[in-house]
Assembly symmetry: C2
Homo-oligomer: 273 residues x 2
C-alpha cells in the first residue's frame, strides 16, 4: 500500500524547473502551493524533480522566509508571507485603482459581474471584480488565472498583441475543450481575433464554462507594455447574446475611459525604441 495521497499525485504535472537559483526556489514554492493538501517531502520530491539534497535545502530556505510552513508532522504548507506580499502589491496596484470606479459604473449599468484581467503569458489573471450579491465571496477570483484563448478578456487582450507576439503565445497554448464551444485550434481563434480587432470587443459564448457568457473589451496598460481587458459576465439563462451585443458599446466605452485615464495618471512611460 502506498501513502495516503501519493498514489494520486504520481502522474500529476510536474512544475517545470525554473532557471537559476531563485527560479528553482520559486518552482518548489509553486509546487507546494498548487498542490491541494499539505505536502510531505517525498510528494514534493516527485512533483519538483529536484535531487533530494537540493530539495531539502530549498525547503529549509523557504521555511526560513515564511514562504512555507513546516507542520509538526513534517509536511509543508503555504506560509503567510505570500498572502501579505500579495495584499500589498494588490492594494498598491495603480492600474486597478484607476479602473475600479469605472468597473463599479459598468456594474451599475448592467447589474452583472464585472471583471478586470491582465494577460500573463497564455493566461488571463483576474485582478479585480465587482458583483452585487457575493455568491461565494468577492475575493474568490482575484489572482486566479484562466486560459486566454477561451475567455472574453483573454481574447480581447490577445487582440492587442502584434502578429508575431500573438503567434508565439498561441504556439504555447494548449487547446483544451472545456465545452462544445471551445476553440479547438489556433486557426479558428485567429479568425475570431481578426473580428475582435475590427469590432473592438470579444464574446465568450460558453467557451470556458457551460452556461456562462460574457462580453469583453481590451485595454492596453501604458508604460508596462501589458495587455488587459474588462468584461461583463452572466449566466446564459439570464444573459442572451442579444443582451451582450447591446452591452458591447458601453463595455468598449468604459474600457476606453480606463485606458485614457491610465495614460494620464500613470504616464505612458518612455516611448518606443
Amino acid at each position: 500500500m502506498m501513502t495516503n495521497e501519493a498514489t494520486g499525485a504520481m502522474d500529476e504535472s510536474r512544475t517545470e524547473a525554473g532557471t537559476g537559483t531563485l527560479g528553482k526556489a520559486i518552482a518548489v514554492l509553486e509546487a507546494v502551493v498548487t498542490a491541494d493538501g499539505p505536502q510531505r517531502f517525498t510528494d514534493i520530491l516527485a512533483r519538483s524533480g529536484q535531487p533530494r539534497g537540493t530539495l531539502h535545502r530549498l525547503l529549509s530556505h523557504l521555511v526560513e522566509e515564511d514562504l512555507l510552513i513546516q507542520r509538526r508532522d513534517l509536511s509543508y504548507e503555504p506560509g503567510l508571507r505570500l498572502l501579505t506580499l500579495a495584499y500589498r502589491s494588490w492594494s498598491a496596484n495603480r492600474f486597478r485603482d484607476v479602473a475600479e470606479p469605472h468597473l463599479q459604473r459598468l456594474h451599475e449599468l448592467t447589474g452583472e459581474t464585472v471583471h478586470l484581467g491582465i494577460l500573463r503569458e497564455t493566461e488571463i489573471v483576474y485582478v479585480d471584480k465587482v458583483e452585487s450579491r457575493q455568491t461565494v465571496r468577492m475575493s474568490s477570483q482575484i489572482g486566479k488565472a484562466s486560459p486566454a484563448y477561451c475567455t472574453g478578456i483573454g481574447k480581447a487582450a490577445l487582440s492587442l498583441l502584434g502578429q508575431p507576439q500573438l503567434e508565439r503565445v498561441l504556439a504555447r497554448t494548449e487547446f483544451h475543450a472545456f465545452t462544445s464551444h471551445t476553440h479547438r485550434s489556433a486557426a479558428t481563434l485567429l479568425a475570431e481575433i481578426e473580428e475582435i480587432r475590427r469590432d473592438g470587443h470579444a464574446f465568450d459564448r460558453e467557451e470556458h464554462e457551460a452556461e456562462i457568457r460574457c462580453v469583453a473589451a481590451p485595454i492596453s496598460i501604458p508604460g508596462g507594455e501589458l495587455a488587459a481587458g474588462i468584461s461583463v459576465t452572466g449566466p446564459a439563462y439570464r444573459v442572451t447574446m442579444e443582451q451582450l451585443s447591446a452591452w458591447a458599446a458601453p463595455v468598449r466605452e468604459v474600457a476606453r475611459a480606463i485606458g485614457e485615464e491610465a495614460v494620464i495618471r500613470l504616464g505612458p512611460g518612455r516611448g518606443g525604441p
Copy 2:
C-alpha cells in the same frame, strides 16, 4: 535638487536584509512591493541597502520570475506571479475552509464584521472576513497585517503563547500609540493578557483605530503550532462595550467549534516532544 521621490524615501524604514540568497531576493521584492509607487533603481538602492551590482542582478532575476515587472521607463512594479501564488495558497487553505461557515454563522448572529486572523511574529495577518455591505471591498483586508498588541485577535492569539515565547514576541514589539487607548508598554499588556487567559476572550477598546471596537477569542491551529483568532468588529457609535460583552460568549463558542472541527479535519500532527 533630488529626484521626485528620493527625498521622501531617504529616511524611510529600510527593509532589513534577509539572510541567504533567497532572503536577499525576497527582501528586495518586499522593498518594491511595500513602496507606494513604481520604484526606480536608485530608490530601491536606498531602500534595500544592497550594493549596486548585487541589486541589479537580484532585480533581473525577480523580473525573470515575473515577481516584478520592469516598465518601459525602467521603474519596477510588483508582477502578477505573486497574486497568482497567493490566490492558490489562500483558496487551498484548509484552516480557512473549516472556519468559513462558522464565521458566516457569527456574522448572521451579530450583524457586524467578522475576521479570522493568524499570528505571525508580532503581527496578525487577516486571512478571512465576512461582512454584509462591502463598504470598500470585501477582499481589501485579506493578507493585511496589523500589530498584535493593539488588536483583539492579536491579543487573543498572544494569550495562547507560553510565557517565554510571549516575552520574546513582546521584546520585538514596538509600542506605537495609535490612539489614546493603545497600550504603551509590555507591562500593561501582560496584565491584560492574564485577564484574557482567564476570560477566554479579548477586547479592542479603540486601541488600533479610534471609533472601532471588537471582541475576539483565540484558536490554536493543530499541526502547525500556529496561534489564531476570530473577532466581531464594529463602530463605537453602534457597538457599545455592553454589546461586545454580550457577544463574548458566542464568540468564544464559535472559536471553540472551529478549533474542534480543525482538530478532526486537519489532524493534530505528530505530538509534542
